[in-house]
Structure formats: structure tokens, C-alpha cells
Symmetry: C2
Subunit: 352 residues, 2 copies
């Protein structure tokens, strides 16, 4: 279908735009019954179901702002671009069904690069059972820009918004936190060492978990069905893309509530504890401000506590208070420290 | 909410990312009953309706590739970014309901620029009665990149795909063609004149229609209800974003058919006829290859001809043949000229 250059690589301009889209999306498998028509027409066609509501979520990822191809293969990037969107659907207590993937990329990328990127997209689609139903591929004057839109569904009685938490509700997080941010620090350190001495063999073995959390994050697709099996409908829910502090403040703000978050309760993997020390970073600070863990943060009624008690996926980290008590971290010594939103601000290039 | 600089302008970094999204999307009006929840949570929530299928369409627009801010205000750009997506929904014979708008933009843009862009987005939403339910706003290292996703619905028995045309079907276009491309040529000529002599006052009066077609295109929202009122379900449909030739070839290819397109039937506005002469361009060539008219191209059964006959919105331009007869233009002197896809290829920067 296309000619190889001497190096076995193919420039994008050797393809026409339509040929390229066709090439990248041929043989796409569909996993969802609701996908009536996927890529190839003016719009995708999805079957509605009167008992459910449709969820739509979209994210844009920009090279040099949200990702850096020094640390990450294009396959991992494709996988992550899908996962971060699906995470938003799961955060509504919904089930993700379809995605569209749009790309703008400069001519430094070759067709083989795009194939690798699509391998990641397809792997994520297969892993999460979502269908790739559309998109757009075009050129950019600089770098790679990815826009993914995810479509999902949820029963109206199970939907979880950011608002809905009320006084006394328990605050729960899934999995553990801080790994993704620390994984990034490890990769950055190794890059700097490599620049000084390219013969240095990095020993990434002790940091496998952290690096995987950074370069191949997973979304908590398992949580909505787990909650259903446990008979729990959270009163509010959000995914942790920007750090626990920022996300909890989103819930408090939307719900017009305050909170008490217990430092000692925050679930942290042992690798985060050991590695954070070598970076002179406090593991709790990393969890609060680090981001990219894509765990879920939700609140439940106190009466539902027995249903989740002891579940290894779920940790109670605090409770919701009235708004005028503020949003606070309770330190190990019982000190109240006001929570601050320290998510990443892509415009100012600083933590906010 | 934000401090003005001396010139009354505000840099993006003075806002946080969340504050900026909140600022741009506050007071959004919703026009659709199916919009349960719009901007502000992990995902938008749309009510499904069991009698309808959901349509999803997405487009990415890149500065310097798809648009040039020399010719176009940010308000017009915002309007156009929405319109080109809605056009895809109407091309499925559907009704557009919601959109998400994602942006990546460099720090050369100011908050006031973004406000102007959103004025256009909001005007389009109001004009077409669609709800802005989500999106993402982030920084880019260069230029402006826009990704819009439109969600619509259609009854399964009325949906029109690109495939579905069969031998003998009549080929119909809405409105007239060529204006948008010629409008671009006029704007480009005036820019060049201005560069040579900045005191020259351009006389755009004779080209008003052409320029409006280029900078403020409209999507044919009226056509699906018109077809319904006429009792016609097209056998295939597509919107004309890349030129009549390329779009007709899409229909022929998807339907595994050929076609005869009559040069003398192609609907052309008088301004296109007079202005094309001064550019030494053939008006039919402009219609075939020009693009960006956002009219609809569809095929109907011959038996439906009496229903559309004489309608000022609709022009029969040819008919569908078997595949082995090829896709041809029939010239005024009866010559058969094979149609070529001459849409714009963003990668090679040339017509394909």
C-alpha cells in the first residue's frame, strides 16, 4: 500500500489523508453491541437505550505539555491517551463504550510512528472493550496533539457527579497514590544521568511499579461493577488525574462541603515510600499534589461502610464536613492543614 | 475575576486552567431537553431515547493548515469550527444536539482572544440550537488547535450513509457551490495587495457573498427536516467539505457504484461566475475541487423525483451508474471526463 524509504520508514506525505485514515483504522474490531457504525462515514452511529443516559468526555494532550516522547513510546502514549478519557467515564459510575481519536502531527512523524501509536490505541480499546468509532488525522506545524472523546452510558439512578457529597459521608480512594508522579521523577533522573554518561546502565528494577504507573496507567473500569456488586452508589465521584488534594477540593467545592482527610490513611505503595526518600520528597505531598494516578475518589453514606469494609481495592481516607469547617488534612500529630489545589496548570507552567 | 494589563488584555497564565474553563463556559445556555448535565464534571450526561440512534462526529482544525487568522477573526473561526462538525451530523440526515470544544493554544493568545473565539462558538450553538456540554482547554507550544465533537440523533429508518446509492439514483446537491473557495482567493488577493500598498482600500463589496461563504459558512440544518416534510429518505448522503468531485467519489466508492455528473447542472452563484473570470479559473473546476461549501450531496430514488422537483434548495446534477461505467463528468459538449479526488491533503500540502 505504500513504498518504503531506504530505512523502511514512510513519510506521511506519501499517503493521502484519506488513505492514511483508512490504513490506520482498517480491520478495527468492535466490542460493543451499541456500535452500529464506526469509522468511515460523516459520523459514527450508536444505538441508544432508553434506560440509560449517555456520557461524553473529551481530553486534549499536547506534546511538550502533557507528554514527552523522551520518556514514553508512541504505543504507550496511545494507550494512555485512551485510558485518561475512559477514566472520566468510570468517574461518573458509567461504562465506557466508544471513543473517537483525533490527531494533529508534524511531518517529523512517519507512518510507522503512527502505526505504533495506533497499536497503543487499539490495545487500550481491546483491554477496556471500547470501540474506536471515528476521528480525524491531520498535520500540525509543530509536535503531536491528540484529542480523544469517550462516549459511555450509565443508569440515571447510579450516576455519580462531583456534587452530591454531604456532611458525614466517608471519603474513599481506590488503589494507591503517588506512584505515577514518582515514576516520572525516576525517568527524569535517569534521563539526566544518561545525558552525562550515555554508557551508564540505568537500574530501573526497584522502580518498575512507579514507572508502569507513569507510562502505562490503567483506568478503574472495575470499580463501577464492584460498587454495583457491593450495593453501593457513591454520593459523589471524580478521578484522580491532578492529585488527591485538587480532586477532593473539586468534590468539596461542587458539593458545597468541607472535609477532613487523614494523612495516615492515604494508601501508599511501599515503592513510593522507599523511592520518595531518595528524592527528598514527602510521600504524602506526592499523593496530594502528584497526579496522573487515575484512581477514583468518591464519597459514600456512613451506612454503606460495612459494605466496603475490608475490600482491598478501597480505602477510607476521611469524611465530609460542613463547608465552614474548611477542607483540611489532619496530620499524624493531629494538626489541621488546609488543603490547596496544587494540580498542574498548563498555561502558567507551574503548580496551582 | 482577572487583572487587566495596561492594554486591557489578559495573558492566559494569569488564569489557572480551571478558572479559565469556568470563565469561558459560565452562563452557558442549554437548548436541548436531552442535555442532563453539561460542562463541569468528568463527563457530560445526555438522555438517551430508545427510538433514536446517537451520532458522533469529530474534527480537528489546525492553525496554518485549516485556517489562517490573517483572513478570519477568532469569532468567525469559533463559529466555523462548530458549523463544520454539525454539517457531518446533518449529512447523516440527523439532528445535532450537543458539542464538546477542546482547544490547545500558545501563549501568544490572550484571554480576550479566547473570549472572542467563544463568542463565535456560542453564536453557532445558539443559531443551531446545540448545547456546549464539555471540552478541554490547554496550552500548545505553537499556534491554535481546535477539536470539536458533535453528538446528534437520528431515527434508524432515516439514517443516510455514504453507502446506499444504487444504479439509476439521482444525484442532488443543496444550495450552490464554489463560493467558499473563491472567497478565499479574494481574501488572499486583497492581502497581497495590502502588503504592497497598505493604504489601498479593498473593495470587497462585489464579493460579499463569496467572502461570507468562506469566513461564515452555514451547515444545512434545514435539509433533514425539509427531506422529512417532502417524504424523501436519501439513499446516501455526505457533506461537501472537500469539493463536489471528492465527495461524489466517496459516495461512489462506498456504494460500489459509478456516476454521471452533468457540468451544466452544477448550481453556481452569479458572483462565482463573474469573479472566477478575474482569477482565470473555470467555475466548474472550482465547484469540483474547491471545497468548504458545506452544502449536502445526496442520492434519491428516481421515483422520489416529483417530490423534490422545483424546490429552490435542491438541484439534480446527475445520476448513479454501475461501477464499471466509472465516475465521470459529462461536459457541456457531451465529453466524458473521469472525476478525480482533488480535495486538500493536509500532509503533502497539495491537492490529491
Amino acid at each position: 500500500m505504500f513504498e518504503n524509504k531506504g530505512n523502511g520508514k514512510t513519510s506521511l506525505s506519501e499517503f493521502g489523508e484519506f488513505a492514511l485514515i483508512n490504513y490506520l483504522t482498517k480491520d478495527l474490531k468492535n466490542y460493543q453491541k451499541t456500535t452500529i457504525l464506526g469509522v468511515g462515514d460523516d459520523a459514527a452511529v450508536l444505538q441508544s437505550d432508553s434506560k440509560k443516559q449517555t456520557l461524553v468526555s473529551t481530553d486534549m494532550l499536547v506534546e511538550g505539555v502533557h507528554f514527552n516522547l523522551t520518556y514514553m513510546s508512541l504505543k504507550h502514549l496511545g494507550y494512555k491517551a485512551v485510558v485518561v478519557n475512559l477514566s472520566d467515564i468510570y468517574a461518573m459510575n458509567g461504562n465506557a463504550k466508544q471513543i473517537t481519536v483525533s490527531l494533529a502531527l508534524s511531518n517529523r512523524f512517519l507512518v510507522e510512528d503512527l502505526e505504533e501509536f495506533y497499536l497503543g490505541i487499539r490495545l487500550a480499546a481491546e483491554t477496556y472493550g471500547v470501540d474506536i468509532v471515528g476521528g480525524d488525522t491531520t498535520s500540525s506545524s509543530k509536535g503531536l496533539i491528540i484529542s480523544v472523546t469517550a462516549v459511555g452510558e450509565v443508569s440515571p439512578e447510579k450516576i455519580t457527579l462531583r456534587k452530591g457529597a454531604s456532611e458525614g459521608d466517608l471519603i474513599v480512594v481506590t488503589g494507591d497514590l503517588g506512584g505515577a508522579y514518582l515514576g516520572f521523577q525516576v525517568l527524569e533522573r535517569e534521563r539526566q544521568i544518561f545525558e552525562v554518561n550515555p554508557n551508564n546502565q540505568p537500574d530501573l528494577e526497584p522502580h518498575t511499579y512507579l514507572i508502569e504507573r507513569q507510562i502505562k496507567p490503567e483506568a478503574r473500569k472495575d470499580i463501577p461493577p464492584l460498587l454495583e456488586a457491593l450495593g453501593v452508589v457513591p454520593t459523589s465521584m471524580i478521578d484522580i488525574s491532578d492529585g488527591l488534594s485538587s480532586e477532593l477540593l473539586h468534590i468539596c467545592h461542587a458539593s458545597e462541603m468541607g472535609c477532613q482527610l487523614y494523612e495516615e490513611k492515604i494508601p501508599i505503595d511501599p515503592q513510593v515510600l522507599t523511592t520518595s526518600e531518595s528524592f527528598n520528597l514527602h510521600p504524602v505531598t506526592i499523593c496530594l499534589n502528584g497526579g496522573e494516578d487515575y484512581e477514583l475518589l468518591f464519597t459514600i453514606k456512613q451506612k454503606d461502610y460495612p459494605k466496603i469494609k475490608g475490600n482491598p481495592n478501597l480505602t477510607v481516607v476521611g469524611y465530609i464536613t460542613s463547608k465552614n469547617e474548611g477542607a483540611n488534612l489532619v496530620s499524624r500529630i493531629g494538626e489541621l492543614i488546609p488543603l490547596k489545589a496544587q494540580g498542574w496548570d498548563s498555561f502558567s507552567g507551574k503548580e496551582v
